[in-house]
């Protein structure tokens, strides 16, 4: 029985670790400026926790087999513990966990404490059951007024986010179901939700943030690789949660300008 347990625990440990190390299922390639830091912090955490995982499971399997009951003659070490050992592993764990935390905090601070860079592209993302809409303020650089009573999801586009056409600043606002962003420029993102909580999740950008009704949440990130990236909703928002997806297109500055201009032209 001891041997069976040893085999099972070690097998589980090996197989579990193997698929992590082999990266059979893994993060998508990071395409934002912060992805490398986040991935690095993950790797450090993963290595440290991996060592503890293998050591603890290994010891568990080994001990149950090595100290299996082999009859009354087998000596048992009568002991109530060892205060020195307790202190050593308490301190070691505390240093490990708190140190890891402080390391990661630096990345968090640059992500969330600093304002967006000067010249960042302003985009407003609105979540509603069950779609994402993205709004660009247009040449005037100002978002027009929105009104809850004007929102009409079934109409889509500007009506979906409740854009008030009577506001002068609304005239040049562009609303799109797809998020266009020029590469290597930071996005100054304002997140809104108009019914329940949604969460804008862009795995390749290592970006996630809840959109909360009643709040406008400002975030920023910088795509560094052109391409099409999928957007999912990460907060349960109702029966259509699973199909609330969108697309982020990271394009060159020229393409972005062209797209914006064509949308403006469409609108006039």
């Amino acid at each position: 029985m001891g041997l069976a347990l040893l085999a099972l625990i070690w097998l589980i440990t090996f197989v579990s670790t193997y698929f992590f190390v082999a990266k059979t299922w893994w993060f998508p390639v990071g395409a934002s400026a912060s992805a490398a830091w986040i991935d690095h912090q993950f790797a450090v955490t993963f290595i440290l926790m991996g060592i503890v995982f293998v050591a603890a499971q290994g010891a568990l399997g080994l001990f149950v087999w090595q100290y299996r009951d082999r009859g009354a003659t087998q000596p048992v070490h009568y002991s109530h513990g060892n205060a020195k050992l307790e202190i050593i592993w308490t301190v070691l764990t505390a240093v490990l966990f708190i140190g890891l935390n402080l390391m990661g905090s630096r990345v968090w601070a640059t992500e969330r404490f600093d304002p967006p860079e000067v010249g960042a592209v302003p985009v407003e993302a609105t979540g509603l059951q069950f779609a994402w809409y993205f709004r660009y303020p247009g040449p005037d650089g100002k978002y027009g007024r929105t009104k809850a009573e004007l929102e009409d999801a079934s109409a889509g586009g500007e009506s979906a986010v409740g854009l008030d056409p009577s506001d002068a600043a609304s005239k040049d606002d562009i609303v799109s179901g797809t998020m266009y962003i020029p590469v290597n420029r930071e996005v100054d993102l304002a997140l809104r939700a108009q019914d329940v909580i949604h969460s804008l999740f862009i795995p390749s950008m290592r970006f996630k943030q809840d959109a909360v009704p009643g709040l406008i949440i400002h975030m920023h990130f910088k795509p560094i690789q052109t391409g099409d990236y999928e957007i999912a909703c990460a907060e349960l928002c109702g029966l259509g949660h699973y199909k609330m997806h969108g697309m982020l297109k990271v394009v060159s500055q020229e393409e972005f300008d062209k797209w914006l201009a064509s949308k403006e032209a469409e609108k006039q």
């Binding site: 589980i12 579990s16 100290y67 048992v76 764990t93």
Partner: protein, 589 residues
């Protein structure tokens, strides 16, 4: 400290109803809790099976259930979580085993307040009935966390009408019941201990139930308040959690109650969706420890007993549990790193969360230290205790990932989280319940459970649960979001369906293996080998009394305690175990 004047307050009842239904006997009440949890766990497990099937074959036409719609999937998900967390993980370890064995282990004739004890069980039962009633009117789809405004506005989705009201009412009733139970447990530990049973001679199970009760007392009150506020938002027009200007025109596909006119706004103003999350998780995180602490107590008790060795670092174990209990109240914000909460507070919550890993690690070290140089006996309860340690390690070590806000960015609300909490508060806690069942079954029913069936049950369940929940971590890394009723709509997620399929097959095997347990349980009650009073050669007081224990637990005798709870292999002692009430002259610590 108990005085000798304490007599058993109530005589043994005669009629069937007083004896088995409205019983005041903590042992009967313990069994009532246990069997309620047993019914609940099979309902909850059935729901998880339906969910797993739907995830893989979203268009399958199932017998009885037909084709499961997305909203039905989310209803199953809500009910699965609610049933499992409240009516299994809170009910069985504390209400069930705590009720049955806490008084006996501290040498008391009953709980401090037997009538309150009965009331708390029947209140829990009413809560369960109300929750099940939600099935029949359309259960809510907002998940067990019930985030507002989804949970606060009837037009937010199917099931958010009467079903959501019933769901909240059930939880509020459950909170009231848990508060009664918590008071009773705390008083019993403080006031009812036998002569010589000092706090530091209590078995670690009693410490775990005691600390769990304190957590329950502080946590359930907050959830009760939150639940009442949510009910008021829903029915009385208050605005605690619902901000102004909500518009539900997006629900065009939802015919019954969606606002058809775009001017029809929800009439609220000034509420905060984040307030609900703060209140919910102020309860919700201690709840995790409410579920797992009794399992830690059981694992400690069993590892010592079956290693024939004193627990390694008894005091460290007590302090670690106290540390977990205290820190457990200051970490709730780690559920909200992505919620829009101030990023500065994330710092504080993150540090506290990492800190709570320290006492958890101490416990693991001490369990390994207990096995080290012991003489390990592989009875089924011990197998589950060893399994508990393995699962606790696996589920615990994903914690430091999620505790870092920066890693929470890619991992929050993905299957990584689902794998993490299922391993630790789901499966590890359930292993604690299994270990306790196999361990105390002889005392409760006077017969032994089948060891052969127990082993099969153990090996299939350990392997099976790892096969289910470990791959979920990989899915989470790849960005698989949780609470999706199918993975057909987002291209990168469809690529993960093969691994999801594997998980479904593993779930089918693991769920099937639970019927081995069910059969063993009932078969052994009738046909199991007769148990002696102390079949495991254990030291704590429940093993000094008859099997099953008499109405007043010790047959008129009041135990006097002279020894610590885990005196195994004491040099110079006549046997390899010294019972807690052995004469003080027996050599021991």
């Amino acid at each position: 400290m108990a005085s000798t004047e304490i007599i058993h307050a109530h005589a043994a009842p005669q009629g069937f109803i007083r004896k088995y239904i409205f019983s005041l006997d903590h042992k009967v009440i313990g069994l009532q809790y246990y069997f309620l949890a047993l019914i609940a766990v099979f309902v909850g497990m059935g729901l998880s099976l339906l969910m797993r099937i739907h995830l893989i074959w979203p268009n399958a036409n199932l017998p009885i259930f037909g084709a499961i719609k997305p909203e039905t999937y989310l209803m199953f998900l809500t009910m699965h979580g609610t049933i499992m967390v409240f009516f299994v993980l809170t009910t069985a370890p504390q209400g069930g085993f705590g009720n049955y064995f806490l008084p006996i282990q501290i040498g008391a004739p009953d709980m401090a307040f037997p009538t309150l004890n009965m009331l708390s069980f029947w209140t829990t039962f009413v809560a369960f009935v109300v929750l099940v009633a939600a099935f029949f009117v359309g259960a809510p789809l907002h998940g067990w966390t019930g985030y507002a405004p989804l949970s606060a506005v009837p037009s937010a989705g199917p099931g958010e009408g009467l079903g959501a009201d019933l769901w909240i009412t059930s939880i509020a009733i459950f909170c009231a019941a848990s508060l009664m139970g918590a008071l009773n447990f705390i008083t019993t530990v403080l006031d009812m201990r036998a002569k010589g049973m000092t706090m530091m001679r209590m078995p670690l199970t009693c410490w775990a139930w005691f600390i769990t009760a304190i957590l329950g007392l502080l946590a359930f009150g907050v959830l009760l308040a939150a639940g009442i506020l949510l009910l008021m938002d829903r029915n009385l027009g208050t605005s605690f959690f619902v901000p102004g200007g909500l518009n539900f025109t997006g629900q065009t596909s939802f015919p019954t109650g969606g606002f058809s006119s775009s001017t029809d706004l929800i009439k609220h103003n000034g509420g905060s969706p984040l307030l609900w999350q703060h209140l919910f998780w102020f309860f919700g995180h201690p709840e995790v420890y409410i579920a797992i602490l009794p399992g830690m107590g059981v694992a400690s008790q069993l590892l010592s007993t079956f290693s024939r060795k004193p627990i390694f670092g008894y005091r460290a174990m007590v302090y670690a549990m106290l540390g977990i209990g205290i820190l457990g109240f200051v970490v709730w914000g780690h559920h909200m790193f992505m919620s829009g909460m101030s990023p500065y507070t994330a710092f504080a919550f993150s540090i506290m969360t990492m800190a709570i890993g320290v006492p958890s690690a101490i416990k693991t070290f001490n369990w390994l230290g207990t096995l080290y140089q012991g003489r390990v006996r592989f009875h089924t309860p011990m197998l589950f205790a060893i399994g508990f340690v393995s699962l606790f390690v696996s589920g615990g070590l994903s914690g430091p990932f999620l505790a870092q806000p920066v890693l929470d960015i890619p991992l929050h609300d993905t299957y990584f989280v689902v794998g993490h909490f299922h391993l630790i508060m789901g499966v590890a806690a359930i292993f604690g319940i299994f270990a306790a069942t196999y361990y105390w079954f002889p005392k409760m029913f006077g017969r032994m459970m089948s060891e052969g069936l127990g082993r099969w049950h153990f090996f299939l369940t350990l392997l099976g649960t790892y096969a289910i929940f470990m791959p979920m971590h990989y899915l989470g890394l790849a960005g698989q979001t949780r609470r999706y009723s199918e993975f057909t709509q987002v291209a990168y997620q469809t690529k993960l369906i093969p691994l999801q399929t594997f998980i479904t097959y593993a779930a089918i095997v693991t769920i099937s293996a639970q019927f081995i347990f069910l059969f063993n349980l009932f078969w052994s009650m009738a046909k199991g080998k007769k148990a002696t009073d102390n079949p495991w050669e254990a030291t704590t007081l429940e093993w000094t009394t008859a099997t099953p224990p008499p109405h007043d637990n010790f047959g008129g005798r009041t135990p006097v305690v002279s020894h610590g709870p885990y005196e195994y292999s004491v040099p110079g002692a006549p046997r390899d175990f010294v019972m807690q009430n052995d004469p003080a002259t027996t050599p021991a610590h």
